[in-house]
Symmetry: D2
Subunit: 498 residues, 4 copies
């Protein structure tokens, strides 16, 4: 059975309604390039927004722990549907099975985390300078949240946003990637199971908008949506940011990365090779946290390149449903074109050590490319994020220089160092170390836990999602002062007696 | 002596260098409209930015408590120069003496607060899901911060930003209002006293850019300045936000307010009248937190209007340097034009109860206007922020409706209720109460303490300055994970064995 | 069937092993006084402690989110066994059905909360004054935790402690009240279901010690148990505190309360009457948060007493399993003796308005007593906590005086005010208001949410359990500083050059 | 001039009143053993406590930022009197000049920190599970705080406590060591300068009780003093803890340490030698954080011992006022006896490598002793804290074993490792690493910054002072819930309808 049809079967099983299908976006599996039935485009976006605004009025009045109960039930439903949804992720986004399961696990984890938050959402009580006054800072629900997600994490990123938003009192409107409408519909169906069990949630609490770029623009420009959380390319993010800024809304941006690893002389090379492999070729190099630049100390650069070449040589590329396969397909032909162009250019600027070929089979399957750049500087090619499995390898002489190179790109998402030196590790994590939002020691740049804040600086867009206090982006902060005295003292000792 | 010359004398005493004067911005006192010597415009903005970036490289390496020491010394210098600087605020911005002193006190307060922060700047250590892993979240210095400030708080708002920025490891570039260059130069001179005592601060740590709108635009567009903190009109904010968004920078916006008070039947009317007076006419109605809309329960509306009229009638308007004067001048003729137009229009839409006249003397002095709107809805006039002492008074029937009216404007800065009812007060502070960033009970909307976060939602721009965790805007968050085991487990249980 | 036998049937169904029964503590139901099979006393306490210490060595190494997974599974098992366990609470502690269910719900809630915590357990990263230094504060597992619980919350209090302790990395030893061993065994059986599903938890992670006071003393004195969390009488707490202090261990004490309500003139009397009823007679007055003292403003004291009398008159006392019954039995004859003595003494010092009689049926059933004290001062009788449904009612003249009386007892657990006045409410919550650990407005003193910290001051013992940062009591704080520079600067600028 | 007379001169200059002198405690300088005029003992402790309780009633009502202003002024006065107070520390406690200055700097630092806190003292607002309810956690002033301090930090430890207590709203009663009454009187005089400038502080806000152990006991047993913060020996702490526990008060204990350093093969031995020297012999080994045990990896043990021996050989022992001297006197003859006995016993159990002699001059001057223990286990001698400069050195084979030895003593204050290995460093800081309250990497165990929480576990007493959230010990936590709805829902869904 063609992969696209296999996906349809799962969607039916999950209860995606027949009405979801119709004229609109084509569905497609990168596994074999097969096309499935088209998914109906959302016609009336105005109604979607209006419904969300109405839902907000009701939802924000429910106590947060009650809202958390909905997310808890959603977590239960995800646990029950884990295999189905993971299979869909594989079918529509092309991830290998373990990664598909991991992505759904991430949704489950964020549910647990959000449930815990639902009894916290901590504000502050503060010491007031005025006698007989109490000061507090409270976090209130914000309003409808638009989630624009990308194909490469077709469900987890939405869940990061949605679970926090829901607990925070906000309805959600989801505009998934045009490339992955099916996983969105499936997730919505699973969410509706939780809604049914929950009982009294308002209509329109979570809605999916199927559509293209225009739909996204219409949504992003609407002032009734105070927060737009967008994941995708830097180009897209720049546009969304300006659209939202023009109406003084709030953006939460997770854009491109150009993530690096430094391998120091004291590194555990076994670990480092494995970390490179996972983070450079996992998800076929289509993660925002994919490793794209490698700086190896010259004393170990030779042997490291050798071991890496060996690892690359043995990488099982193929159908992501098959056990043992580690590298699945690129998402589409456009991705291949970008891969091709970058590899070819890389081969000119440096040396193509291994990989770069396309496999002769339906779908876009390539051998991950490892390109040696020696001690060269970083060219425009290297500074640009090509969303494909290409790794540029450099040799470095001293650690300060390695950090400088790591930082010398426009993006600022993830970074890592492999070292057993306290001095190097802590410097990397210091104010004069990595300038990225994520900095790891003896871990690749990819694969974050949900408990930490996820996101990065510079062209990566500055947003933070998931753990820590990322929930604050979904709420409105209010500074409250209550005077319970019989006087009216002014702050800073100002006198004003009428 | 003309007020502008008086200002010059103080600047000389504070040690503003002769080089500061020259072709450029005119200086002017709203007290008598007198013009002083022009202040030299900053020619080479590129150098300013470059110097700031260089200063950052050094400053971020100093331990934060050491950086705090500079801010502590600055606080000492401010204490020593308090009267001079306050007098300048009066001369250049037209504030009455007590408010001028209050503004400098606010600078001093934020110094104390920032010094305390300098040993905190707390990040987190977090529980990792992987054995032998440590997770941390650390806040790092961000880079040069541009502060665009408005004429009405010519020094305090800069201090809010600068003291936090400096402690956080960031150099500051200050673009003050074209209307208040002198207070900026004076503040810089005082800051330099602290710098001298401090010793080893890098050159260019704090710089003032004298110039107009174009200078602001050049600065805001520069990618070397990761944060732009701008205070001013919504129109200005919208432009800055888009400029900064286009380069994926960070904006901290404090824009217009349209602040309301609800007076409930159980209110202490004595307090309420005094609170209205201070917050509606203080600073001649030129605060972003000025009270502009008043909703009085119909059962007390009559007597409240009477008492308010009496209070308005007796307001001492005049030279802000004179003891007893509570209402000083508007900043300039343009401000008067806006006042005039709004009062006239208000008189058509409602009833001009008291005030509205201009005094016949040099400078722009007006009698604050109180306009009765009865039970009418809020027109465009009312929904617009006129930066002058005009108060629109409405009567309301029930509390829910009053909250709804309070929220039904584009701005979302400050709000308050006068009531002795727990139910009303807490509803006002609830998720279905005021939608503003500041919500007070039995206090006017104006006059915040520095310990709380200051700012508002919607067209107010969403930024938060001063207390609470506002300092985080001046830093870069980094999620760090350290693997100290001999394994390489992946999050979410993903398996990837090369 | 006698209630004690009914309990046995449930225990069997829940899988309590046959070995649990044998020579030892008698089991008993206060519903009818029936005795069940005795429960085997734990002979070898030394082994229990040793096993716990061994379990600690393994459990502390598991990542906290993994430990949270056990608690999540426990929550699932509690949901599944909710009715059974609640029925047992009714049978063994005599609570009415709704309260029994509420108690189990509390266990479930704390599971959800603890799971959320398992990815937090936040410590701090801090700004160091020394260049090239990083400072952090981390929370580490503490060691075996002893939980001594009382009969009146036979399972929830253990769960508060155990769920936090387990997530924090600590094994638990439970010494339940001699009066409620059966609910402890049932809870343990349910916990073991979760353990089985979890898989790799160490042996001895949670153990129940069946025994009397001596067993508690042996455990409390053991230095291998760094934390003793004890709930019960002030007398017991004082002993435990000294025992633990002698070995410099940590105590978390939840002791007696003597909780008051103030009813102000503006109070919603409907709510207040209902709140009094629930909090004074719920659990037959055997909660540590039971309302024991009532201060009513003299202007409403008359009508309030009337309404209260009516409510007391209609209170359904009887078998707690029967629908509609609100007041079940006292725990035993000793409780009755204390009730009798206090009511008789109260009738001498004041006026017995209603209640005080014992019902003629098996088990100890009494009509809750309402005793009017007029404007008298508080005698020793009133200042003493009698663990039974007796409410002393006073009239007060002004609010300051009412607060003073509320505070003038040795205990400091819970307190409340019914008022619609902002001034009164906020004063009650101020530094010069209630001195208790819990202070409520328009809510009775009883029935806390798990999200807040639970506990009180003075003779209540000072401990805090459940929500907020109560988890810190179960961990060890470590201040860490890492020098990654090549120098050795000393704090405070000390010089010491060898 | 005899040192004791020199001290008197300074006290006079600082304005210690003549009434302070009289029958009572002798004053004495360890520098030359000279005796000064006796200091009058506090006769009427009851009055002291009563005055403190009265001061509390007033002080707690002042806004915390206002209380902070007093502490800020105190900081200014300390800066002005720094040299005098430091000289006194040298004269009365025998510290070398740099350490005396460092101790006063620590007081100044905590002033700055406390001032910052005075606008924080953050509690929480929390999400309530009940509709129309607000939950908050507020921190309220606690009451009079007793500070019992030890001779070795005669002023800093009091300042840690007092500055936090004052900002938190608590009066302070200080019972200094019998060995250092003069520094206490001097500090009080400096504090009173701040009080005078402050203006409206209540009488008795800070009081010094001069007296012996009995005075301490009387104070510790008094229920009007909710918090006793005691620094000193484990024996003393155990007694205080029990006394306070018997009245269910709160203890904050900073007791003995037995601090270790691990020197790993990758350690920077230069740094390590210097760190050992400062932390083992600084303050003549009379710090609670003094290094007492040294575990050196066998591969470097030989060379490390050599270098250390050389360093010890060259240690300048002598009058602490003299420039260059690093090791001053022991506090008294009793200290010498303990030193002598331990060194002699150590020489039997191991090898006395260097030091141990007494210098032939007035006062107790000894050469710090370095005792080699080889690979032996830790005997009772080693497990006991001798408050003198004795260092036991061991060789270790593997890192796990070194950590185990480090932890295998009753005390748990400070610890450190010198290593450049990430794996070792992070393990040391992990849940299976050091069990101490302080754990450092590449820093000695001694010399903490005030921004971190200071204190330790096990026999060290569990208290935390100074930075982080140590201020919470000085406050009373209150969980507040406000119902602003018209219903009375119960937590956990309990139903109770009268």
């Amino acid at each position: 059975m063609a992969a696209a049809n296999e996906a349809k079967t799962i969607l039916d099983r999950l209860g995606v309604p027949a009405a979801a299908w119709g004229e609109g976006l084509p569905t497609r599996s990168p596994i074999d390039g097969s096309l499935g039935a088209p998914v109906r485009e959302t016609g009336d976006i105005e109604s979607v927004i209006a419904r969300s605004a109405t839902a907000f009025a009701a939802w924000k009045r429910l106590p947060a722990p009650r809202r958390g109960e909905l997310v808890r039930l959603f977590g239960e439903e995800l646990r029950a549907a884990k295999n189905d949804l993971a299979a869909l992720v594989t079918l529509e986004a092309g991830k290998v099975t373990s990664e598909g399961l991991g992505e759904v696990q991430e949704m489950i984890d964020i549910c647990d985390f959000a449930v815990g938050l639902s009894r916290q959402l901590y504000g502050l009580t503060l010491a007031s300078e005025r006698p007989g006054h109490h000061m507090r800072e409270t976090w209130q629900p914000l309003g409808p949240v638009l989630v624009i997600s990308a194909f490469n994490f077709p469900v987890a990123v939405w869940a990061w946003n949605a679970c926090l938003a829901l607990v925070c009192g906000d309805p959600v409107i989801w505009k998934p990637s045009e490339k992955t409408p099916m996983t969105a519909l499936a997730t919505q169906a699973i969410f509706e199971r939780a809604l049914t069990r929950f009982g009294d949630a308002p209509d329109g609490l979570s809605q999916v908008v199927i559509g293209g770029r225009e739909a996204g623009e219409t949504l992003a420009a609407d002032a009734r949506i105070p927060l737009v959380s967008a994941t995708g390319s830097t180009r897209m993010g720049r546009e969304v940011a300006q659209t939202v800024a023009a109406r003084l809304g709030r953006s939460l941006l997770e854009l491109g990365g150009n993530n690096a690893m430094i391998v120091a002389p004291s590194a555990d090379l076994d670990l480092a090779v494995r970390a490179v492999a996972f983070s450079a070729v996992g998800t076929a190099g289509q993660r925002c946290t994919t490793l794209r630049r490698l700086f190896v100390h010259q004393s170990v650069a030779g042997q490291f390149a050798e071991r890496l070449t060996k690892a690359y040589d043995s990488l099982p590329v193929g159908d992501p449903r098959e056990p043992g396969v580690l590298v699945g397909p690129l998402i589409d032909e456009a991705a291949y074109d970008a891969f091709r162009a970058s590899v070819d250019q890389g081969a000119k600027e440096g040396v193509l050590i291994v990989g770069g070929e396309r496999l002769d089979r339906p779908g876009v399957y390539v051998k991950p490319a490892l390109i040696g750049m020696g001690t060269a500087g970083q060219t425009d090619l290297v500074k640009h994020e090509t969303f494909a499995p290409i790794l540029y390898m450099f040799a470095y002489e001293n650690f300060d220089e390695a950090i400088e190179m790591q930082n010398a790109v426009p993006q600022g998402l993830s970074s890592c160092v492999f070292t057993d030196s306290v001095r190097e590790a802590e410097q990397f994590l210091s104010a004069w170390g990595s300038d990225c939002g994520i900095a790891n020691v003896n871990i690749g740049p990819s694969g974050a836990e949900i408990g930490g804040a996820f996101g990065g600086e510079k062209d990566t867009g500055g947003g933070r999602e998931s753990g820590s206090d990322a929930w604050k982006a979904y709420m409105r902060r209010q500074t409250q002062t209550v005077n319970f005295s019989r006087d009216l003292p002014l702050a800073q000792g100002v006198k004003f007696d009428v």
